[in-house]
Each structure stands twice: as C-alpha cells, then as structure tokens.
Symmetry: C2
Subunit: 347 residues, 2 copies
C-alpha cells in the first residue's frame, strides 16, 4: 500500500493522469494547465474546476460564509484569466451537514453572486446535497478566448522577461494573523471572549486572504497595450512553485531577483512582527492570486508603462537551472517548490 | 433560522437560484434542466455537474471503488444524453481522508476511465485534495449538440406520447438487497462473517444499482429513426418525480398506465420477496438512469419499431392534472413526487 503522502500532490496528479489520452478533436488541451481547452468553434472554451473542503481549505472559525463564496468563485475566475481568457459561466456544487441552515447557504450564495456580478459571470447550474460532516464546495468555471489569444504555461522562451502583478505574501500573512488570533481566542475563558481581536493596521492583509480578487484588470491592460504573454499562470501555491511550473512546462531555467519581489508595506511590517523572512513569505506564501507571466524582451518598454506589474527576472536555458539572486547580487539560491500546503496551513 | 429540511431539495434549489439572471449572450439556458446550454458557435456546449458524498450518496461497505468511479461518470453522461447531446469531456474533483490509499484512488480512476473509454469521453482535468473525513467526488461533464437537436424538459405538448427506455425499479431493489445483506453481516459474530452473501438470482438488480449505464443507444436509435423528442429527462429520482418535472416545465398534465410500466422479471420477483408493491418500486425507485421522453402522437408507429422503448401514457392539458391509471382502468391515482431520498436510502 502506498500512502498518498509519499507521492505528494503533484506526484499524485501525475500518477493518476499520465496515461490519459484525448479522443475527441474538440479536446485541444486536457490535463496539465490551469484550464482544459476545448475547441468548439473559432473561439476556445476554457473550463476549470476546484474543490474546497471544510477543515482543509478553509476554517469557518474566521471565514465568513459570504467571503467563502466570493473567494471560491474568484479563485476559479483567476484560472480563466491565467489562460488570457474571460470567465463566462460558473457551476456550483455544495454539500452541507445538518448544522448548516438555509441562511448559511444564502450567505455563501450571496458571496458567489456578488463575485459573478462583479466579473460578469453567469451562474448556470450545480448541485446542492447533504454531507455527513462539514461543508464541501466544488466549482466549475467556463470561459472563452480567441484561439490565438490562449496563453499556456509552456510558451516561455530564453531571454523572456518574468513579470508579476500586484504584490506577494500578503494573503499568507493574513492567514497567520487569523490563526494567531484563533489560538488566543481558544485559550481564553468564556468571560474574556467578548474581547474582539484587534487587527488594526493589518486590514489589507486580512482582505487579501479572505476576499482576494482575480486580476481581470491586468489581462485587459496587457491586451490594450498589445502585449501577448508567452506564458502565464496565477499564483495560488506561491511564486516559487508557479515559476517552476512555467519553467518545467517550457523546458527552460530562470533567474529572479530578491530585491525586485513586489511587497506591500503591511506585508513587510507583519513579517517582521512574526519574525519571518519577508522574501520567504513572498516566494512561498500562497493564495495571492496574482498573475505570473513572461513576455518577450522586446516588450520591456511596454511593460514599464503598465501600472501594478513588475519585472522580477528573466528566462534562461534549462541547463542554467532555476534560481533566486539574493540582494546585492550576492548569491544564487535554487528555487524550491515549497508551495502552499493547504492541509497544514488550514489547520 | 430555517432548517434546510423545511424547504426540501427542490424548494432549496428554487430558493437559492430564483433571482439569478443571465448576463452573457453565450448563456442560452442556465439553471433548471439537466444541463446548462452555452452558445459558443453553431453547436451548443452542454455542461452538467454532480457531487457525491460518502455516507449520503454511496456506502463503501458494498460499493467497490471502481464501480463508484464508473457510476459517477455514467450518471453525468446520462444528463448529457437526456438533452439529446453527446458527452465529450469530463472533469473530476476528488477529496479523500487519510484512510484512503493511492490504490484506492487508482480504483476510482480505473472506473472513471473505463466509463470514459466506453462512452468516448475525454477526462480533461480536475482537482484532488484532502478531506477531514470520508470521500467526496464532484464531476463536471461537457458535451455538445446541434442547436436544433437540444431537447429540454419544457417541450412536451398535449397528446404527445410518453415513452420510457429499458425497465424501472431494478436499481432500487438492488439497493434494498445490498442493505439487507449489510444488516445481516453487521449482526453476525466475527466467526460467521466468512460466509459470503448470496445474491444468486439477483445479479441483474445489483448490476443495475452498482454499475448503471447511460442510454447512449436510445438517443442514437431515436436519431436514426428520425424521431426528435419534444421533451426528455433521465430517471435518477424515480419516474413519478421526473414526469412531474416534465409536466411542470411544459405546463401540461399527463396520464400513465400502471399496466404499461416496464418491469424486469427479477424486479417483480424481488419486490414480492420484500413484500413491496412493484409498481411503487417502478414509480418511485431511483437511479435507473433510463430515459423518459415525449414524442408527437404521429411518431407512434416509428416508436413501435424501436427496441427497448415503451409508450406508457400521454400528455394532457394542465387542468387534467397528473395521474396514474390503475390496472384494468379501475382508478386514477394522483402522481406524487416521492422521489428518491439519497440521504435516507443511502443509510
């Protein structure tokens, strides 16, 4: 018997899917990217799906149900944007145990529908059923893109610039703050629990974790500027892990600069408060849902004009490996896919 | 606070979805049928999704994991056929707790892939994650059909013939047999448990429950015979419940004849063994995954030529209500949506 933990998440997915072959002409691209790509016409249909389990992916002690619904939807939209597409339809499956009421489901739906409203997506179906314990959500999002616009993970080329939107590590520290307050709260007597946790100065970090946004704006700005990324992925498991996905799929290496990692001021302060290395938070903290992409070197000037996008390094030959260049060009540190272990972080 | 049980499954779905409006031109039809219909081109894209929770929808005491995978896939394909479409792609999300091994997941996948192979469907993606307790499966199937071929629930017209494929009630009795043997098994001492349950003479019923098939063949035969159903649905919750869906969506009534309900010989024998009314099993037993559809009266002669399809009644004006005509035309019994309570039957 092989324990699932022996394979690890990506090993398990590879193990389960490596012999799957496509049979239909309409299956342009199956397993191995943010979305499956289906050819139904002159436009490609993009499909992505995610499952969220209580106690693994979220903790209802500090996650309002409306936020949970909003985030579950946005995370799926983010996968469609990461293919340079537009999300169009959402299908929502929910299973709940007896401790959940109709009002609880209303809260989840109000979050889902708010996200659909903001991103122009139609909720087109789904399944609602019982569960023995806890809450389970499974969402499927369908989108489209012109065939020539679809951006995969595998298109990065040597000398391409590596770019990232927004800033990194904020959602990870937001989660650390929530976990810390939860522990404090659990340790208190009943009399003391009326005291509300104090998150002042950290609002931005909590919002990044509890109510992330998909970077629709970045995809639109790139299109308006006439930039077509050569590869793209959304950052759900941490920058290192995602960049390694791009390099592996594209058969390249890379160099990124520690000093160019985009950080928010609150992220830096909070990392210090937790005695953490802020670069580690930015490299390995997940759930920021920023976009990581590569563009040809010739697009450097255009990228410089785009708000909220930063060049953090460049693509190399595969033989040069994948590394972070420390501050002051001091040393090269190999990138590791430490990733984002939802099973641990969610505890 | 409103308990979910107060609304019931369909009431809950209506409650959650009644205010949802489509925003995109490509959303031809959203919530309210077996599939969402999306207009991406001259062909319609069909999407359906189902969630299966351990302890609610299946019991691993008597459900081999390979069968579970096979059935989970087939149930989704059945929804695509019920729209007169062809399933093309499948997306599989699985969450498992620590008691499951890689080999367990292999078994599930082998069933999923066997179903995909048999029905010509591509597995194009999905998510595999942890669960605190038990196994959860969420599948999404995508298919297509020519725009003019899509058959909804709402197209039935007065005088249309009501037809059903195969036979009914077999899966329900298969489940009763498995539940009975489970109770016997649980009541025994350890010494006695080496005795295997004896299902001889009931093999067909067990297969109907554990390894159902989607009626791809019926959809093809109807097409070959030039018959386009005016409405269609697959029977997952029981004939009564599904026929009421068609009548409600089509704003019609109906009459069906008890003596025309299609029954297998094993179903009749087993119902007697359980002291159950076999018509009740056929009307309310779920999970047969046969097709229920209506055709214009003028197709009567063509339908008579089609193997394994039976006319069981006709569509009426709405004012005449929905009823079963008892044997010998003795009495009219109003149809009730007793349905198929997976939460109870799965216990």
């Amino acid at each position: 018997m092989t324990a699932i933990s022996e394979l690890g998440e990506f090993g398990l997915i590879r193990h389960l899917t490596e012999n799957i072959k496509s049979k239909n002409d309409s299956t342009t691209f199956g397993i191995g990217d943010d979305c499956a790509v289906l050819d139904y016409c002159d436009r490609r249909t993009l499909v992505t799906s995610d499952m969220l389990m209580e106690g693994i992916h979220f903790d209802l002690v500090y996650t309002p149900l409306k936020h949970l619904g909003y985030k579950a939807a946005v995370v799926n939209f983010s996968d469609i944007y990461a293919m340079n597409g537009t999300p169009r339809q959402l299908i929502v499956n929910i299973a709940v145990s007896r401790r959940f009421s109709v009002e609880n489901l209303d809260d989840i739906y109000s979050g889902l529908l708010l996200a659909c409203e903001r991103y122009g997506v139609d909720l087109v179906g789904g399944d609602t059923s019982a569960s023995v314990t806890g809450l389970a959500l499974s969402l499927t999002c369908i989108g489209d893109a012109k065939a020539e616009d679809v951006v995969y993970r595998h298109g990065a080329k040597e000398t391409d610039l590596i770019c990232v939107s927004g800033n990194l590590g904020a959602a990870y520290l937001g989660l650390q703050l929530l976990e810390r307050e939860k522990k404090v709260f659990e340790g208190k007597n009943i009399d003391e629990t009326s005291a509300q946790p104090d998150f002042s100065g950290h609002e931005y970090l909590l919002e990044r974790f509890l109510k992330p946004e998909a970077r629709k704006d970045i995809v639109e700005r790139l299109r308006d500027a006439g930039i077509r990324p050569t590869s793209m992925i959304d950052i759900s498991d941490g920058l290192s892990s995602e960049l390694l996905h791009i390099c592996k799929a594209s058969q390249t290496g890379c160099r990124i600069y520690e000093e160019r990692l985009p950080l928010d001021y609150q992220t830096a302060l909070c990392a210090e408060e937790f005695n953490m290395n802020v670069s580690t938070c930015a490299l390995n903290g997940g759930e920021d849902y920023e976009l990581l992409f590569t563009v040809p070197l010739t697009d450097h000037d255009k990228i410089a004009q785009i708000d909220d996008v930063r060049e953090i390094g460049y693509i190399t030959k595969a033989e040069l490996g994948t590394a972070l260049i420390g501050r002051g060009d001091a040393e090269e540190i190999p990138l590791r896919a430490q990733g984002w272990d939802a099973a641990e972080s969610g505890k």
